[in-house]
């Protein structure tokens, strides 16, 4: 019943999106606005339809219909309700439906806006969104149908099919295989939706960019319209990345958070281009420069999103994340090819129209610093891209898939990231159009001096690693610059209006959300950088086999092995759990319980570390191995991860900053007008400066 309803809705939605594509193109070509309007309604209708499909799958998952192959593959009776629901994105076909659902939600939201001023964009935005949606739906219907069931034919054969083959009986297994235990983690419950949200919302700026290319509009309207979408997409992608790191840290049990795995890279690459885009659009808005470059960046970001999804799901590169081998590869490949080629062709066609309205006239101006920022981001992208596709290239030329390891990425991106940190400190102080060393130095010397004091303090405290000193000095510089910016703004406002300091600070940020939200995001990135520098430069580890009562020492901590117990838990796990006592300088700090869970249904073990977290550091203990009761020894691996928690704090601050920057302005019309005015004056002043 639910299977047929779900599949039926899926097919109808697919037809609906095809109709929308044709209606939009036809309406635009023949200048019949009612067809475009009809396409818009088709777009809006896809959302409730896919919602229905999603609800059908959730219904099947929750009511344990194990005759449905997807339900059988991702759930089992012992799983709690919330995991049964989130199993929607626990397997290939379900997650594709979820992708399509989010995509239609975003696309519908964007079509709901008032289009009066931008009517020429509308049909093409609809076309881009619906083509993407139709592609995903066709993949689900043809290759990854979540509603297929098990049947036993009269010949005794067991097959999987959507509709009942003649003379066959439904097979209803008593229990399912259960979700992959690695995915049974709270971080895993929210990590995929966040990444998907980031991925799908980048479709919106791309759709507007393509619409601008097709219609030939040269102004920056498409950028202004999609600024918030881009920021929201970027925020979700960032959250997804941080949560993924947190999950790796908690669940994979190797003491780290980032492995430069192809799938991690696949999500990181659009983040890099997206971040570059967020910065470079400002140059087009303020100075009318970089039009082509912005177009390239938005196309690149979307292409990398699709490319990443393809890598994850086609089995081209092996990875811890890889979904089971599937037939969607060739179709996905065709879609990628068409997207890339069409975008490139459009870009070349409009290349000459997208010329800059001005030019750069100062090496230290904000725009030239942003240009350097973009180049550095592209440098990081080049490194990550090369490392990701290198196994393919090496296989092509040598016949062996050689994977690139973490040190390659760390060594080659390290200096680029240091450069980006430095820019984060300088660029906010430089002016649009024109800056000199003198003006810049005047704004910079106070925070610079403070950061030098921090550097001296670090050297005195005994830090000798060059990388760590440089990194932490740069982070302190950015922190002081950013706080100084807040301080100066607040003082100026306080003097001018007589508001108290706190009100002045709040109003300052509220009046100029984009700028101060951006600063908060900068601070959050710096906090994350501190965490990364901490764990990369100062992580220490040890491994020891202990018998109860014995202890080991690491970084001032004493870890004493007390006992170990093995027992079965009701939800189908066998747990081996060790009890360790932790103390530092003779002071008892409590107990840690590293454990190993063995899942009977999927026959898979999982290592869960015992972690003691403080602002300063993490003590991270993994139970590696243990002997039978008679000998009673157990092996532990212990990591000391200084500063790692700043990475997670930074993640939370990033969300906060993004909200400040993306929050809608009440007086939007006024704001737009004043921006245009300020841009005109900036341009004219730069002209007069010549």
């Amino acid at each position: 019943m639910l299977t047929n309803l779900g599949f039926g809705s899926l097919v109808i939605t697919f037809a609906l999106s095809l109709y929308g594509i044709f209606a939009a193109i036809y309406g635009e070509r023949k200048n019949l606005y009612r067809f475009v309007e009809s396409a818009r309604w088709a777009m809006l209708l896809t959302f409730p339809m896919i919602t229905l499909v999603t609800l059908c799958i959730i219904g099947l998952l929750v009511t344990q219909h194990y005759e449905v192959q997807y339900v059988y593959n991702v759930t089992s009776q012992s799983m709690p309700l919330y995991l049964k629901i989130t199993a929607l994105w626990g397997g290939q076909s379900g997650s594709l439906v979820f992708w399509a659902w989010l995509m239609s939600a975003f696309a519908s939201a964007v079509t709901l806006r008032k289009w009066n001023r931008d009517r020429d964009f509308l049909p093409w935005v609809i076309v881009v969104c619906l083509v993407t949606l139709a592609f995903f739906l066709s993949m689900i219907i043809l290759f990854e149908n979540p509603f297929q069931r098990f049947w036993s034919t009269s010949g005794g054969q067991q097959i999987v099919a959507m509709f009942q083959p003649a003379g066959s009986q439904l097979i209803i297994p008593a229990d399912g295989r259960g979700l992959n235990p690695l995915l049974r983690h709270p971080g895993m419950v929210i990590h995929p939706p966040m990444l998907y949200l980031g991925f799908v919302s980048f479709v919106i700026p791309f759709a507007f960019g393509i619409a601008a290319l097709i219609t030939g509009r040269k102004d920056d309207r498409w950028i202004r319209l999609t600024r918030r979408w881009t920021l929201v997409a970027w925020m979700f992608l960032s959250i997804g990345l941080v949560l993924g790191s947190r999950w790796a840290y908690d669940v994979l049990g190797w003491g780290g958070y980032w492995a430069w795995d192809p799938v991690e890279n696949a999500a990181f690459m659009p983040w890099l281009t997206g971040t570059a885009f967020l910065h470079s659009v400002m140059i087009q808005e303020k100075r009318g420069l970089f039009k082509r470059w912005n177009m390239i960046l938005v196309i690149l970001t979307y292409s990398l999103v699709i490319f990443g999804t393809f890598l994850t799901r086609s089995g081209v590169l092996s990875s811890v994340h890889a979904f089971a081998q599937s037939a969607i590869g060739p179709m996905f490949f065709a879609f990628i090819g068409i997207t890339f080629l069409v975008s490139l062709a459009l870009l070349i066609k409009r290349w000459n129209d997208l010329n800059s309205e001005g030019q750069m006239n100062s090496l230290l101006s904000r725009e030239s610093l942003f240009l350097v920022n973009n180049l550095l981001f592209m440098g990081v992208l080049a490194v990550v891209f090369w490392g990701t596709v290198f196994p393919l290239i090496s296989e092509l030329f040598t016949g062996q898939k050689v994977t690139v390891s973490a040190p390659f990425y760390e060594r080659s991106t390290g200096p680029l990231f240091a450069g980006l940190l430095l820019l984060m400190g300088i660029a906010p102080l430089s002016a649009w159009g024109h800056s000199t060393w003198k003006t810049l130095g005047k704004a910079m010397w106070k925070p610079g001096l403070l950061s030098l004091l921090v550097l001296i303090a670090m050297v005195i405290s005994g830090i000798r690693s060059f990388g760590a000193l440089l990194g932490l000095w740069l982070t302190s510089f950015v922190i002081f610059v950013t706080l100084y910016e807040f301080w100066r703004g607040m003082i100026a406002r306080h003097r001018r209006s007589g508001e108290n300091y706190f009100t002045a600070l709040i109003r300052l940020a509220a009046r100029n959300r984009r700028r101060y939200g951006g600063y908060v995001i900068h601070l959050s990135i710096v906090l994350m950088a501190i965490g990364i520098i901490g764990i990369e430069s100062f992580q220490t580890q040890t491994q020891a086999k202990l018998i109860p009562g014995e202890s080991l020492q690491l970084a001032g901590y004493t870890v004493t092995y007390e006992s170990l117990a093995e027992f079965d838990v009701q939800d189908g796990r066998n747990v081996a759990r060790a009890v360790l006592n932790v103390s530092k300088n003779g002071k008892n700090l409590g107990e840690l319980y590293p454990r190993r869970d063995y899942f009977y249904d999927s026959q898979q073990p999982m290592t869960i570390p015992g972690v003691r977290s403080t602002i300063e550091d993490d003590l991270y203990v993994i139970l590696v191995n243990w002997e039978e009761i008679s000998t009673n020894g157990a092996t532990f691996k212990v990591f000391h991860n200084p500063l790692v928690n700043w990475l997670w704090f930074g993640g939370i601050l990033l969300i906060f900053g993004s909200f400040i920057a993306a929050w809608p302005d009440p007086e939007k019309g006024l704001q737009l007008e004043s921006i245009t005015k300020s841009r005109q004056s900036a341009v004219s002043s730069s002209i007069s400066a010549d």
């Binding site: 081998q325 800059s356 026959q603």
Partner: protein, 183 residues
């Protein structure tokens, strides 16, 4: 990246051609990788490329030195429960062919830690050469889908048969190998 001073110039033809060639080249590599990924394991009847195994004792065994012998390649891992089902039978089979010098066994340890793997070998008294699959190159050669999987190569170096999952019995293993010896 555009140079603002040259913005009035049109895009030269070579740049357009280069852009498309680079893009098509990239798509080509991607498509080729996809084709490989979709190919599945080495097909029965096809020649198996030469590969080397570095055993846990540090010796290097190459299939090129084993011409004229039947080679059994078994993929396993210490964390793999189904592998345990066939471990004793595989060893028994090896013992029965060992004297004849007609058959060679390879144990390829897939994604594992050495300590765990050695324990596994000790537990089942496995005596045929075993070694880690360094950089997973051997498993990629066969494009295995999981462990256990066993591939039997005939005297001419062609893949004779492949078994996905554990062998059920000693008889089943012998059934795969015996016809190839008399060839």
């Amino acid at each position: 990246m555009e140079n603002p001073e040259e913005t009035k110039k049109t895009l030269p033809r070579w740049a357009v051609v280069t852009a498309f060639v680079v893009l098509l080249g990239f798509l080509g590599i991607l498509g080729w990788g996809l084709k490989n990924a979709q190919q599945g394991p080495v097909k029965v009847g096809q020649p198996v490329p030469v590969f080397n195994l570095t055993t846990f004792d540090g010796q290097v065994v190459s299939t090129s030195d084993l011409k004229g012998k039947v080679i059994v390649v078994n993929f396993w891992a210490s964390w793999c429960k189904p592998c345990e089902q066939e471990a004793a039978e595989l060893e028994e089979a090896w013992q029965s062919y060992r004297e004849s010098d007609q058959v060679y066994f390879f144990g390829v340890d897939y994604v594992d830690t050495e300590t765990q793997a050695k324990k596994y070998i000790e537990k089942f008294n496995i005596t045929y050469p075993n070694g880690p699959d360094l950089r997973t190159s051997i498993s990629q050669l066969f494009r295995i889908t999981g462990v256990p999987e066993t591939y039997v190569i005939d005297k001419n170096g062609n893949l004779a048969n492949a078994k996905i999952g554990p062998y059920e019995s000693l008889a089943e293993i012998k059934q795969m190998i015996d016809p190839l010896i008399s060839e």
